[in-house]
Amino acid sequence: MSLRLTALDALHRSLGATMTDFAGWDMPLRYGSEREEHIAVRTKAGLFDLSHMGEITVSGPQAGEFLDHALVGFISALGVLRARYTMICREDGGILDDLIVYRTAENEYMVVANASNAQVVLDALTERTGGFDVQVRDDRDAYALLAVQGPEANGILASVTDADLPGLKYYALLPATVAGKDVWLARTGYTGEDGFEIFCAPADAEHLWTALTEAGADKGLVPCGLSCRDTLRLEAGMPLYGHELTTELTPFDAGLGRVVRFDKTTNGGEFVGRKALEAAAAQAEAKAPRKLVGLVSEGKRVPRAEYTVVSTEGAPIGTITSGSPSPTLGKPIAIAYVDAAHAEPGTAVAVDVRGKHEPVEVVALPFYKRAR
């Protein structure tokens, strides 16, 4: 099957990007050094093409109630032009995807799914519409998505838009004109830094990329690929679907039970997965079998996804879900599910790195939190 190309494909190639197949999309992995791209986002700014993300528009008089039913969050309680991190679960509580939902109007929401799950989410939402006065529309081809992330992002955006950036709070959005193009401008991201995500028409993507590149030239903005996006989110302790989140896990297993809103007042409090999630919540409260923790290594070898975590006696006690060198900490870091008995920060454990046990320490997540 041929890979899907974003509206910025030619531009990435002209920049000499190393491309990679990501969920069926041909995406920039890095343009030069992924470490330098990572550091640019932490200290200055980075520009990302995230057009692989899957936009789904939900509209109609009962759009809010419908999303309360279909997702685990209390979506109808969200203010207009605000966004929320949430999840869609199966009836058995298993996570189908993690999502950001943007309320774009009184009766309209934009659901943004991971590229790898966009079809699954679209199908599940469509299936769950029964009895609701609502339309679910596949808008994956309607939007390109650019992100500007990093401490200089605000200044860069300010030079190409008159939008009220000081008034645009974290997890909020605005219809805005950026470099002459009409976009949805959202203060969201997946890097642990301040920044913006810009949903635009694919035909406008190149113009916006170029305008942002020029606006950021004297502020240290660099193009950034998915490789540094992954290390940035890992340092920020943010989960990635397929790694920390899967259909085999509930939000409570992942330590993200807060996204499940049993206090919803719509639909008589019922939503898909409620029963199973109540049981999962009770179990997490009483005795969580495993916990999601951070690991930090003093060595150089990188604990990677699927490697086994072992006790200091060498007994298997968990599995790594994501791992990489941390450019900010200067040492390897990982996220892992480990037995609750070994999950306390400060606990000494080890990782089986291709047969050799590398000592690591359990730490609380996140690894990195920006100064505000």
Binding site: T18, E34, R35, K300, P325
Partner: protein, 124 residues
Amino acid sequence: MSNPTHLQYTKEHEWLTAAEDGVSTVGITAHAADALGDIVYVQLPEVGDTVTAGETCGELESTKSVSDLYSPATGEVTEVNQAVVDEPALVNAEPFEGGWLFKVRVEATDELLGADEYTAFIGA
């Protein structure tokens, strides 16, 4: 980066200098270093080890991957580059120079390519 003509190359993307007093220097090519991305860990054979042409003798880890290092020659390792062990990024920065990996007293080699052949092989 072009592939220096005074070196010989393997299809596993290592390079080897002409032997001086029987000893050749080994590294990985710019093409390989670029494909790996930022290298964060280098494991080399030890001085005195015997390496075998075409077989693994170490490991290179980058942000995203772990790759075996194949020896282009059979023989005893006479020296390793401690600088790249201490600072693996040197392999990315200077793959054909300061980023060399180890020296070997050559008894035999793998099938080797000239610079032009290697350049054609990687399609550059």
